[in-house]
Symmetry: C2
Subunit: 339 residues, 2 copies
Amino acid sequence: MTSSARTASARKLVALSGGVGGAKLVLGFSEVMPAEDLTVIVNTGDDFEHMGFSISPDIDTLMYTLAGLSNLETGWGRAEETWSFMDAAAEIGGETWFRLGDKDIAIHAERTRRLGAGQSLSQITQHICRQLGLDITIVPMTDDKVRTIVETPNGPLPFQYYFVRERCRPTVTGFTFEGAAAATPQTAFVRALGAPELAAIVICPSNPFISIDPILSVPGVRDLLAKARVPVIAVSPIVAGRAIKGPTAKMMTELGLELSAVTIARHYAGFLDGLIIDQTDGSLAGEVRGLGVAVEIEDTVMTNLDDKIRLAKTAIEFARRLRAELPDHRGSGHDRQYA
Amino acid sequence: MTSSARTASARKLVALSGGVGGAKLVLGFSEVMPAEDLTVIVNTGDDFEHMGFSISPDIDTLMYTLAGLSNLETGWGRAEETWSFMDAAAEIGGETWFRLGDKDIAIHAERTRRLGAGQSLSQITQHICRQLGLDITIVPMTDDKVRTIVETPNGPLPFQYYFVRERCRPTVTGFTFEGAAAATPQTAFVRALGAPELAAIVICPSNPFISIDPILSVPGVRDLLAKARVPVIAVSPIVAGRAIKGPTAKMMTELGLELSAVTIARHYAGFLDGLIIDQTDGSLAGEVRGLGVAVEIEDTVMTNLDDKIRLAKTAIEFARRLRAELPDHRGSGHDRQYA
């Protein structure tokens, strides 16, 4: 970190996020800081084309969560949704394994139409956010097409086929991010990482393999994080040896990884400065610190808005502490050690 | 008509149709003859692309009517429809002047997806018909893109902008069928007109300008009708100086045409053999016959299924009578005279 960077007011935050878990923390951030200071980089690896629509599940989950439109019961889709489209689609032999709600389709149709007209995913996302009254900048990790492929003993499965159609039943042996090698990080993503007012980069408690790794697979991103002049901190999605939600724990087991916050610290090795682990995992702090990663202990289970706000505040404060400790040579490579 | 043609069993019917009015008569035909003998040629001039969907209103009206899915109250769209999509589209600034129901969208999305995959409109229509359990052959007039443009004193308006957005308020000075000159009649259309078992060609009581003229605008169609070896009969959509439905009367007035079944007979001059006029218009029979067009008088207002069946039976019987009177030289040009 250069001294000129140090003098700039450090108030901006970049959050890397997948869907549900990430959206919860982002909602927390949105409650404790000005919207214009928050840039959310969203995984688009599980985007797909289905029934003629271009669907971006993680972008939508973020938009719906922040706009107060999300279905809190199901954890996906919109509240007060209706299903007439699916019923009618089934009548004409349409695929029904991926449930598209009638309201939800309004977003998919608009996105599909605008993509067809040559607009970029980030332009479209920004437009829809503004229409929904959201001031936070939500940026797809790339405007290029990257698709997460789940490797299984029976061959590769496109992500939504694994996740929704097969309900995560197949054993996972690995992941491929199709198209990633040719992708470019979205301009606003790169710009946000280089902003002089940047205070921290936060990796949300999203699934590391299917939500964060696709973002990291875009050429240049790992390097930008490693060379960042501000702390990169993560919130562990593994609590007390279990995943809060989704297939993270199953995947880690199948990949032969220990179900622990330590695995998360190892997974982000090379750019991670700090990890927030759950209060029930306090005994792991030493092992994480041994990896050269600072530790903050907090109640990380977000069940209500207060939880989200508390965790967001903890992350901001943790980053502030780490900034003060950050070695002067940051920006010229990754060479850190925290107590 | 050649003698070989005369010996074939005349049982098949080709109906030219627009939306609502045509669908009523086609439903009548479907009740009194085997589905495999009925081919409906449908106007696609009011098809359009809207909110990212490829919409074919007249095809859909026919499918919904025949499948018992149509909304009898509104005269368009589906019964028991919901409107969540439109509500959500409005939230993000979408256009709301063309109401797309949630169930209705299932058809539009499937059509759009298949067109995008390179299938033809006729293939897609056939597929959806089969899925809806319809055995009748519904054939778009052409697989090429033809778009009805309404000429007004303030310039041209794409059909749906005139019809739905402007609610037919602008004065009509004429019509253009964009793309028609380069279009080819659908193969099944041409084949149906040449079938040895063909008994009649029926022009449904649809709007002549915006429902039937687009079909006639496809190169070759007028000639095929003029040279048909079976009677071409029409049902007048004008009853007692009024149109049963829609803007037909308003258009005729603006175009300086007399609001009368006689105008319909004149409009189809060159290929029309017989016209079914309403019982209230009996006094016009002489004038129509004076144009060389045979006349059948019937109650043509179709309010219930019995009405539709009666009118369908009348049309079939009328055609049978005309076939018996048809001059031997038919097939070598149009040169008819009926009493």
